[in-house]
Symmetry: C2
Subunit: 268 residues, 2 copies
DNA sequence: ACTGGACTCTCCCCCAGGGAGAGAGTCCAG
DNA sequence: CTGGACTCTCTCCCTGGGGGAGAGTCCAGT
């Protein structure tokens, strides 16, 4: 039997951390003296502690560590671990994307922004809409676009697809999304149904390139809106003028961003 | 002037988070109404908020974000950012290493461990020693080894180098390190000085391969120590039988780990 | 000028995964 | 039997937020 200090030496986990793991039921000492409260660990617990240590180095939450340790089947454990490794990989991708747009933000010469104030009439389109969480947006988008294409047929000359993005999505990580394709007579089939985009005054600009970093353009547009003493009304609109459907060259992609505004009285 | 909710929409930072940033002085509203406490932001603050958002996505601590924003020189800012990207890369390397040794830990068939109990006589060597933090170990190791080689000349047939690792290093992230090379007449020059490794009973095993994951071997050795009813005495010893100095093939590296123990009375 | 709804304020509690230290009790070898 | 090393529990702190309560404010419509 090992006292906590000795066990700490063997496992390279701090005494404090071991006590915490006991507290949360992650690694219970083999014996706890009922009178003194002293914790005693067995040698067999060392490998267990090491697994915990490793998993924590991978930033696996303690609750998940617990699940992994409790699953008796090695294959299942391996699967759970693999799942976390995948999570880490996607984190890495996110990190790389953030670095790219950070460079753009910090570049001393911001490209001048072409902004246009445009009155958009109401138009009826074929739409798919849902309440979606931030993390599910790419998957939802792909599914919705596939369904639109399945119902409407391949893209014709009826104009680029677009979307409406609820502000709550950015603010609370969850919000209403709507994806549409222009259509002369929008059908109702599956999730696809007719929808009328309301008429609006839009502040419009175009984002060039990948979608990573599009929120920098959003910010620039926001600055413009404020500088011109306008105020925002309703969800943001995007239109995919050139996108992955059109070319694989992501540098050529063009996304139109339209921000509905109220035109103030003292503005022309 | 934008109220906090509008600013939140433009920057995709939550209202809560904006208030927090105000509180810690990271992003102060342009105007705060002295009577109502209402925060008002200017359009010019949007890009600033975006930079903060990006940096947070990179898990840059708020304090560092502050430093980056406060440095007026773009080059300097770029350097600070680059520094963080580097940090992230090394994190990634650490992650990969953790995955490797995790696989070893979870592999159903642990390789049997060759352990030996050996009486080691006292021996005088040429040593460099310091108090070192966990993160500085690799750099310290490289420097110490270089100094030893500079003083003693290229490795000769006087036996492999070795080290002593204070337990506090693992337990508290900081501890005493000693690196040595055997030498007939250890000189005193610079940090190099003679040192006598005390005689000891060592429980010895050999770790094969890269140093990543060496603590798994530590754990196995610890189990053995406990199972054989021994108790640990003093800092761990390592000896670099085959290391990066000898071959680039990391799979061929061999590190001897020796754990000083007290031999108990009831053991042979 | 009022009123209702949306917005904002502050304050407090919560999370993970620890770190730091106080003050008291316990273990064990000499 | 005594002293030093060890361990116990307890409380508070950190980062970077999230959630909600209850009160105060803003503004557009009537």
């Amino acid at each position: 039997m090992l006292a906590i200090g000795e066990f700490s030496q063997m496992t390279h986990l701090s005494v404090r951390t071991l006590r915490r793991y006991h507290e949360v039921g992650l690694l219970e000492p083999e014996v706890v003296d009922p009178f003194t409260g002293y914790r005693y660990y067995s040698g067999a617990q060392i490998p267990v502690a090491q697994v915990i240590h490793r998993l924590r180095e991978l930033d696996v939450p303690l609750s998940d560590v617990q699940r992994i340790l409790r699953s008796p089947d090695p294959d299942q454990r391996a699967a759970l671990v693999a799942q976390h490794v995948e999570r880490l990989e996607s984190e890495l991708a996110r990190t790389r994307a953030a670095v790219v747009s950070l460079r753009r933000l910090l570049s001393p010469e911001p490209a001048p922004l072409q902004v246009e104030l445009r009155a958009e009439p109401a138009v009826t389109v074929a739409a798919v809409e849902d309440e979606v969480g931030e993390d599910d947006v790419p998957a939802w988008y792909a599914g919705a676009m596939a369904e639109l294409d399945a119902v409407l047929g391949p893209p014709a000359g009826d104009g680029p697809p677009g979307g409406l993005y609820d502000n709550a999505l950015f603010e609370h990580g969850r919000g209403h999304l709507l994806l549409y394709r222009p259509a002369a007579e929008p059908p109702t089939r599956g999730r696809v149904h007719p929808f009328t985009l309301p008429a609006a005054e839009l502040v419009v600009t175009t984002h060039q390139g990948e979608h990573e970093g599009i929120d920098v353009t959003y910010g620039e547009l926001g600055s413009w809106v404020v500088d011109n003493a306008l105020t925002v009304a309703g969800p943001v609109r995007e239109r995919y003028l050139v996108g992955p459907r059109d070319t694989d060259d992501s540098a050529a992609w063009r996304t139109e961003i339209g921000w509905p505004v109220f035109r103030l009285a003292n503005n022309p």
